[in-house]
Symmetry: C2
Subunit: 645 residues, 2 copies
Amino acid sequence: MAEKRYQRKIYLEDKPRRDAKQEILDAFQLASESEWIPTGDALGRITAQAVFANVSMPHYHASAMDGIAVNAEETYEAHEQRPLRLRLRDQFAFVDTGNAIPPGFNAVIMIEHVHVIDDETIEIIEPATPWQHIRPIGEDIVQEEMLFPQGHRLRPADLGALLAAQITRVQVMKKPLVTIIPTGNELVAADDALAAGKIIEFNGTVFANYVKEWGGEPNLHDIVKDEPESIKAALLQAVESSDIIVINAGSSAGSRDFTVHVLAELGTVFTHGVATRPGKPVILGKINQKIVVGVPGYPVSAYLALEWFVRPLICKYLQIPEPERQKMSVKLGRRIVSTMGAEDFVRVNIGYVNGQYVANPLTRAAGVTMSLVRADGLLVVPPEQLGYEQGDDAEVELLRPIEEIKNAIVFSGSHDLTIDLLSSQLKQQRHDMKIVSSHVGSMAGVMAIRKGEAHVAGIHLLDPETREYNISYVKKLLSAQDAVLYPFLKRTQGWMVPKGNPLKIEQISDLAETQADFVNRQKGAGTRILFDLLLKEQGISPEQIKGYDREMFSHLSVAAEVKGNEKAAGLGIYPAAKAMGLDFVPVADESYDLLMTKDFFESEQGRWLVSVIQSHDFKNAVEKIGGYAVVSQSEPIFFEAAKLR
Amino acid sequence: MAEKRYQRKIYLEDKPRRDAKQEILDAFQLASESEWIPTGDALGRITAQAVFANVSMPHYHASAMDGIAVNAEETYEAHEQRPLRLRLRDQFAFVDTGNAIPPGFNAVIMIEHVHVIDDETIEIIEPATPWQHIRPIGEDIVQEEMLFPQGHRLRPADLGALLAAQITRVQVMKKPLVTIIPTGNELVAADDALAAGKIIEFNGTVFANYVKEWGGEPNLHDIVKDEPESIKAALLQAVESSDIIVINAGSSAGSRDFTVHVLAELGTVFTHGVATRPGKPVILGKINQKIVVGVPGYPVSAYLALEWFVRPLICKYLQIPEPERQKMSVKLGRRIVSTMGAEDFVRVNIGYVNGQYVANPLTRAAGVTMSLVRADGLLVVPPEQLGYEQGDDAEVELLRPIEEIKNAIVFSGSHDLTIDLLSSQLKQQRHDMKIVSSHVGSMAGVMAIRKGEAHVAGIHLLDPETREYNISYVKKLLSAQDAVLYPFLKRTQGWMVPKGNPLKIEQISDLAETQADFVNRQKGAGTRILFDLLLKEQGISPEQIKGYDREMFSHLSVAAEVKGNEKAAGLGIYPAAKAMGLDFVPVADESYDLLMTKDFFESEQGRWLVSVIQSHDFKNAVEKIGGYAVVSQSEPIFFEAAKLR
């Protein structure tokens, strides 16, 4: 067992992504199949052949109006001064819109222009021209006309055109069957109990749903153990029964990464490793006529690799071009450093603030699913580029509709659990508004407002001199722009400790004395500023605190860390401790306020946000959580740029 | 029966569309319902509540690398000059990516930096820092963190985040049940035989599929007769069982338009007629808590009305904002005249020619389904505007992805059936290229090239002086720009007459003598120019030709007209006559050539088009149709702007 580890292949290729893709596209020569299905079921399907009309529409000369059908030549005498009388049956017939024009007639006069004399007689005062108000045969669709070329994706209205032309069954491309094989001894089904080292298998479900969206038919295989023989058996069976095979994980070069060896044994390996970050450990190969795509286990890498390599195969099978994502130009709110020689796929949040779209990178870690869930766009840094400077313009591919991005309220600063509640209640009132928040800490929140990256920031910054919250920081840091500090909450900070408080942490000196594993917050977080102030007041140096350098980015993250360790402690707010089932020892009350740009405060979105905050529903919900008092009855404080200069 | 006709209500309201919509939105107060479904089935569904994580991800400290887990403090002595040895189990443990960090260890060293001495011993030359290469608990998702707010549409990656947080069932909005009632005595099912005056019921299928796309659950009712009692019964049943009701046709003010009367009897009518063209005859009302939308029978009006009034109701039920269509700015290739006081929805084709997007209106007729199928965009002319001049900039809503519009080869000019074939064969070779054609006639085709509205035009223009085709027209009309005339086909024009040629039409004088119902082509069509020349040569005046003023826009349309009438005749090409089962009497051979802009001819698309034309496959397929000879071995003729001035 130990020996086997040393035989691992340590280095992967760095093949350009486009070359790797072209190779498998060229190798994928499977004949596409088609099928005849009822037209009513064909939404979203791709036509396999050009489609020609079976009948014309209309298939007879049809009245385009409610009125009377006449023979135009018999109406030429009609004049305002000399009304012309026509007799029912031989000289006119009543027709409704869509009726066939009776034989012998060739024009329609609108009912509004007809004066009825009696049941059998009418009068007109204007002649008709031949074919007026008649929809001729084939006005809409002419028999034998081509309705759709090959390769057309059928939309709802298209189905109408097909049925109108009496095409009740349509030949469409079959959906390619894509078998997805999850491998890994660590994987368990979502319903199973979770032990340390075990991971819920969820990539397979994600893959299956992407395949569905892209027009393929997914087939999700059971979890396969990391054993060469099991992988081999699953692959052989999949090659037999499906068109494209995806095997998840085992694509790197670790001691349990067998996929590449099995693939080489059964067929051909084209690529092992592409020049992208994330997404490098990809395997591309072929067994018989079937392409096998081995994708990495980390979710972000996996989903990107699926899009790079599996989607083009599905499109080739369906004989359609690969759809492109909508792109837009953004200004970069932060510097982005990239690796030379590899394409970098940076997930970004985009905010529409002060009339421009500003993008900020999310975490780069390939394992962080939520970074893809939260991303508004993908910034692709080409291999030859080292990155971007703050303020550069760059093009991003959008992962959300642009109007969703445009309408989002960009929330920055410190994390508080009531912001989720605020977000939900706002959304209930206004379905088109939503809060998009990133937890960067109070100081970074003020800076985000200053740099035009956010509309609102939650802050709780204690001034050691004045013992006042927030105001002095806003004055100092936002001297050049108008802003509004909106009083929001009073909340309690305290020691978050395991149930029963085993180390008996009551004050800050207890942390040093018990050598507790302290879990700290990042620099610039309001809680970190409070902690550092407490240390200073008690004359304790950071070196005396074990774990002082271990920084987490939210109250919940600290609480989650504390939960797993009997010797741990952290500083944070009551609801986070409560959510994780921890004990809580109060330390200080603080003001958590909302800093807004003046433009936002005065905007429709700003007014809605404030009205939700002031509502009874919101206050009641917050107070139910415990550890909070809503202070929204206080007046907002306005800071004017001019006065501060 | 006749009396009843006179009781029709002739005039409808002209209510602004937005007011009409707001009224039903306000009146639609049905409580939305939600349901719990397996996460794996939730693609595209809308979250009914904010979703919070059940577990953290990772839920243990996990190795982020393949390597060894160590206690960082025990590695501080390691140095390149003084390698440090560590013993398996008490000083280090092998870990793969994703493994749990064993108790007592707090850092991971990558396998690449480990020197293996024997099965029990390794050596390192660099210290580890605490927590390096470890994914801490909750790095991706922290337990109790809000994953999604209420009202979020779940995408594939979102399902992964839910499953990772061990949420195996998710609460989503129920799909509102939309019952669709097609009414009309003229309606038959698509499979039924078609008599004159009968229409295939296809709107219901289109509605059902739109409802599906918009997130509702459609329920397509059987066809209901135009009888007040039948309509009443269907409506009452629908109100009982569904959330929203759509009733198709009977929404105007004709003698058989009962819907508004039935609705008034059962509930409330808010609106009868909106200020839009097309789409005016809409009925909006309410029975109990259910909104009833009566939409017009003409397909284009119907689909627009559905989008204006039914989609917002579905979105309100689902508590999501109404999605907006992508918009873009275009230059108008033609003047558009609009009615004052009504919003005008003009379907347009958009071509990307000479670096700009040029839009041209399609037919305005509300009954022409294909105009919606063929449209690239919708130009909405506001009620207070009278239209646009040629060359104006205007904003259009896109009905197709922009890259599809950008990649389309815009084909104008005369209609020939081989263009459909060319389109299909090109698409087979290059899935991302397609031909979009409008049949406007040869002269209009040359003008489209001149005005930068098209890339290619099919033309067959006989010069009465030189008896030569096309060249003199290009010289005269395209003097200011570079163009290429690509020799394409020789084809035969002839008399298209009913099977057996009952009137014995052999030459043009027979048309006058037999007083045949001639079906003419529009002015500027090559075939019209040929016909007018034949008349002149034979000294026959247009007045002698019955039906001379009756103009159709394509060979197939003429053939379709001829087919239905034993006394009819037309001039056109052999394959059109063949397609409709007509007899064909040859008159003249002509050259049908492709006029292209020089830029297009030299572009990648132009080169592909020419290569398909020159292929054996294409030639064989054309010659199989009959009546054609492909002449693509001749050299293209280049016209240079400079020389022509």
